[in-house]
Amino acid sequence: MNREFMVNSALLLGLVAIPLWAYVSDEPFTITLATRVAILALAGVGLNIALGLGGLVSLGHAAFFGIGGYAMGILASHAQSYTPLIESPFLLEGTKSMPLIWIAAIISSALMAMIIGALSLRTSGVYFIMITLAFGQMLYFFAISWPAYGGEDGLSIYVRNGFPGLNTLDPIQFFGISFTLLICALWLAARLAHSPFGLALNAARQSPQRVETVGLSPYQLRLVAFVISGAITGLAGALFADLNRFVSPSMFSWQTSGEIMVFVILGGVGRLFGPVAGAALFITLEHLLGGISEFWHIWLGLLLLLVVLFARGGIIGLLAGRGSAHD
């Protein structure tokens, strides 16, 4: 097996071993940290499909992360106050069931990605970045000014949502759920990258003219990629909200978009496990440096600078070398 495979396996192994060790030695906080890594990596895997495969620099992925979060918050808050979500034309109740919430998060963020993508993919380069950013900010301010669901204060959910057969309040079990979803998303992203769709999307990033010349539409390819990307990031948002049992407009903020992008760039743009490596490093730094000084972002900035200047393939690129032209 090649080096990238070994690096990826080591990463996964570490991500499983650390919480297991923490479970044995009764350190629930470390398990929570690992869960954060898994969830944020999931958000990054979503962005990486747009950014790495499609070359779409979206600074608005917080929109999907936030919609996933609010899908959870809205459904769970109605369930917890026993008020229906809508009464007419049909009755729709809130729910505390994770699978249902995930489906709602995926569908709503995919729809939003379709709308945002349909409009913003007509532009490219700096304009695309600005339009995605603008959409993200629009949702941010919308969430702030929507009193029904907490406005600026956000929504607290008192008890974590349930998953059939599991006790989700047990940190290790919730980690298991998040980790499993991450693996599913990684599997999907891997299949996607090698599929005919991935091949065409990848070519559209490198030479849109070529893709047109063979009779395919780069716009359609990118839009579909953007929707898949948004849906995965939306699912991560629902999990993130469940982890904190709290949703707030800050999930929509452009800093969130920036952080998701930092995971991808730190780990390696377009590398399957890039977001996993990036999120792991980010959370580790936040934990270690954050304890020393609250201005730890200075060091993160410095690191990001070094990665962008000297290690374009990110951590994965540094450890596993240049990506092989996949066979």
Binding site: H194, F197, Q206, T213, V214, G215
Partner: protein
């Protein structure tokens, strides 16, 4: 006489004060190679862009297989079977040779939204791509990154991608550019055999190749076709000699 496969009627395109195409009418018939020659800046690339899509003419029409395609987007023309190769290679440079060829066939199939199967393991995709690569002589380089190919090899790959589209007509913009003498001879032999499959509208600077291949020639100068005819007719045309061949000799 059968209908031409591809025809333009009075194509005119003006950029500011420059008349890039002026009343250009030409036809491409079944089984022929029609070469367009002309000095640099004569408007050859502008003409190709109007035929293949990307530039809309100010006036005039383009017909392909009896259909008016003047305003049709590039990718729909490709779907109809109009295959173009580029003067400056427009290939996915980070991808392998095989991936580029498969992309072509994927376009011909018209169903890119296949998310789960492996593109390189699909037998029909791979077979068509391999066949095309073998024909242009790139079968030994299928796993080479495209950016590592020589200029000549990239030309060959451009042609291979066009082949995978199973086109009804080729439009080739300088397929010999950047090739050595050997490569150029090889490509000449190859194109010679290709004309029976689909006619070729060939823009080329390599006069040896043009004279060896072309059934008909059109000479484009300042956006205007000043002569059309067989190789001998063009060679002996006094206007052409002064405008073009004379300068070159």
């Amino acid at each position: 006489m059968t209908e031409p496969v591809l025809a333009t009627f009075g194509l005119t395109k003006i950029f500011g004060a420059v008349c890039a195409s002026s009343d250009v009418s030409l036809t491409l018939n079944q089984g022929e190679i029609h070469a367009i020659i002309g000095p640099n800046g004569a408007g050859k690339s502008t003409l190709i862009s109007q035929i293949c899509g990307g530039l809309k003419p100010d006036s005039g029409r383009v017909e392909f297989l009896g259909r008016d395609i003047t305003t049709m987007p590039l990718r729909q023309r490709a779907r109809l079977g109009l295959a173009r190769t580029f003067q400056v290679s427009a290939l996915a440079m980070d991808d392998t040779v095989l991936q580029n060829a498969i992309l072509g066939n994927l376009g011909a199939r018209g169903k890119p939204f296949d998310f789960f199967s492996s593109a390189l393991k699909q037998k029909d995709l791979r077979k068509t791509a391999m066949l095309a690569l073998e024909r242009v002589g790139l079968a030994d380089h299928i796993f080479t990154r495209t950016s590592e190919l020589s200029h000549g090899q990239r030309r060959q790959l451009e042609v291979a991608v066009a082949l995978t589209l199973r086109p009804k007509a080729f439009v080739m913009d300088e397929p010999m550019a950047g090739m050595g003498a050997d490569g150029s001879r090889g490509m000449t032999t190859f194109l010679d055999g290709l004309r029976d499959e689909a006619p070729i509208l060939l823009v080329e600077h390599d006069m040896d190749a043009v004279f060896a291949l072309a059934d008909r020639l059109s000479v484009l100068v300042y956006g205007q076709i000043i002569a059309t005819g067989t190789v001998d007719e063009i060679r002996n045309d006094p206007d052409v000699r002064t405008a073009y061949l004379g300068d070159a000799a």
